[in-house]
Symmetry: C2
Subunit: 422 residues, 2 copies
């Protein structure tokens, strides 16, 4: 199956490559040509799509989410974190079945597609049924275990790691723990053994709130980053989600251990956690990706909002309008996301890369005039501009329609789950 | 001409009125019925629109913008304010004709319509041609003079005040000055005379940056708010745009003089001006509205982004996730906006009010499940949800299409202006 996109403004996201007008071909799930039209090979195409000057670029990588929390959107806003977790979220999650989680994840996937997201890193309750939802819907997904003292067991974690990794080309599984404050030391020591057995990176919520960091220092005399490092949990690299309250010493450890950061600016604002030091991370050379976090703490799953916030909040945090310019943000949302998800064959548009591609509509008022496309995307772009989302060579969303999906059925099933959990 | 909207979830924005399912009728430019279907009068309707459970509510009031700056979108991002103004904006504005401003304003109006904006308060170079653009496109607009020491003269201001106010039912004109730092004291004293002659409120950029406030204190020994008050400029009320760096004493003056605030959170972030004390304003009882500011300092004209930022930034500023809940933000974007624009007949949905109405699509993934509609709109809503925008009884935007407008012609004319000014 071959598809040809022509008359496109192509933003490959390769270092130092300018936007050019040309075409892109895919065959099955790979990109087979990116370049000028005059050099393009001929061929039998299933579809030839006139892009009419619209932008073709790599899809956005949403590096941290809890998709199944769509059930709780707008249910428990404007609350303190502890109220929210203990009184609203945990009791309802206790009632959520694997099948519920599957349906709720499908609802989230619809929204990802409207926002140009072509892969997610998802930490939630039942990885098996999340994987099923992703495979059924065609979404690329790195599952991450959210292990903590309430479950699952290390045996379950190890089994999932072996069973879910490579179960389907769209699905991966990463070793992760929920957070320092939801694990005791012995559990973390045992996770460290597993990390060493598989030489695996570790993924974890870390330094999200000041309270979390202060309490960890109270318990162990160390920041969460230093504490995890002392247990060998970062010996094979990894990623911390949030990273709002890291110290200079933390950043040195992160550099030494190759630990990236996924920033979730909308969630950090809404829960009053703080503003992450993105400008500092970039200056230190730490890899930063972007995540939406879950739809109960954000509440949208909208990479355009996150991209705007990354740069705008960096500017006000540093009181410097030059901080974190738009091209850096686009790199975080694409290339860096691919690195942090260990999917570097989705990072740029190039021959042989996986066909995870989006088309952005420039013929809309918010994208006019076209003076600087990366700046247009980051500073004035929005979901409405997503004209097409292709994952693994398949067009899943185009001109507001979802291919082969009964949207009403998903809405109705998700509402039924929500009624049950309410 | 009568139009009937039925099967609608109706959010009237009246104090203490819950959302209900019913219908709304318009005749010419007024609302003639809002209520349950069983009580609705029959009649000959030009159109009957099945809203399919979507939300009907008052349109958003964008209380501060410089529409014509669309020419400069993405042209001069990531710069210091002085660089931006002196090297990028002012030299280009010097070359902008009234006709240019007319075309650039039309481009902005297209974007307002996609964002559910039904009225704007616009401070820019050539009010006459901005008014023409608004009348031609059907946009409600309160023009505001941006008088400063470079122009125009007080005579021109007074003439515009008399000629443009009431020139067309869609158009009003307010007395305003650009800012304290662009006016000398004598000029402000003369403006004060005019304010007193017409018993008019005053509109002004104020307390946007810390530098501005510090320099005013250096010049006059007073904050900008206190200085303007000392000149009698606030004797008939008014509005300050931005209000990021006001003091407690300023707020007392504002309360006494009935001065509202228009907050422009995206612009304040991007230019690294700061985060306005919205929570404090609300607690003091000061009326707060929302503006996008111009498309060169934002860069979008998107009320959904602004609404999210108002609440999210208040939460992180106060380090309190309970600060400024969603219903307060919706009130700012509608009812308060109408108050600050002195258009209280556009504030809510009720019989006799002007028909400035939007329909929001709830059948999209980001609006599901429907647990709390105001929260859905503020926390996860986006431009894509705007299904229809009606101003003064006329549907100007519906299902992604602009009624009776040659969009390509506007894009092409705006691009030509941009090339000339580049």
């Amino acid at each position: 199956m071959r598809i040809r996109f022509y008359n496109a403004r192509i933003l490959t996201m390769k270092e130092n490559e300018d936007i050019f007008t040309g075409e892109l071909h895919t065959q099955d799930n790979r990109i087979t040509y990116v370049g000028k039209s005059e050099d393009a090979p001929e061929g039998d195409f299933l579809r030839e799509i006139d892009c009419k000057g619209n932008v073709i670029m790599p899809g956005f990588k949403n590096c941290h989410t809890h998709s199944g929390m769509t059930a709780f959107r707008s249910l428990a806003d404007d609350l303190n974190l502890q109220d929210w977790l203990n009184n609203e979220i945990f009791p309802r999650e206790a009632k959520m079945s694997g099948e519920d989680c599957n349906i709720l994840t499908k609802l989230a996937i619809l929204e990802y597609l409207t926002s140009g997201v072509t892969s997610i890193q998802d930490m939630y309750l039942t990885p098996e049924t999340i994987a099923d939802a992703c495979v059924e819907m065609g979404m690329r997904c790195e599952l991450v275990s959210g292990l903590n003292k309430f479950g699952p067991t290390l045996d379950v974690l190890e089994r999932r790691y072996n069973e879910l990794n490579g179960k389907n080309p769209l699905i991966g599984f990463k070793m992760g723990v929920h957070a320092e404050y939801t694990c005791d030391k012995e559990l973390l020591q045992n996770v460290s053994k597993l990390i060493h057995k598989y030489e695996s990176p570790l993924y974890v919520h870390m330094s999200e709130t000041k309270t979390e960091v202060d309490e960890c220092i109270g318990r162990y005399g160390m920041t969460p980053v230093a504490f995890f490092d002392s247990l060998g949990l970062f010996d094979f690299g990894g990623v911390i989600y949030h990273g709002v309250w890291t110290t200079d010493e933390d950043m040195e450890i992160m550099l030494k251990r190759n630990i990236g950061v996924v920033t979730n600016p909308a969630s950090n604002l809404k829960l009053a956690s703080g503003i992450a030091p993105i400008d500092k991370y970039l200056k230190k050379g730490i890899t930063v990706g972007i995540g939406t976090d879950g739809p109960s703490s954000n509440n949208a799953l909208d990479m355009f909002r996150e991209m705007y916030l990354v740069t705008a909040l960096a500017k006000v945090r540093e009181m410097n309008p030059l901080a974190v310019p738009a091209p850096e943000v686009l790199k975080m949302a694409t290339v860096n996301g691919a690195i942090l998800q260990e999917h570097t064959d989705t990072d740029t548009l190039a021959k042989g890369k996986l066909a995870d591609i989006i088309m952005l509509d420039m013929n809309m008022p918010n994208m006019q005039p076209i003076l600087n496309i990366p700046n247009n995307i980051v500073y004035s772009g929005c979901k409405s501009n997503v004209k097409m989302t292709m994952i693994d060579g398949v067009i899943l969303y185009e001109d507001g329609r979802f291919a082969g999906v009964d949207v009403e059925e998903i809405y109705s099933e998700a509402s039924a789950v929500m009624e049950k959990l309410k």
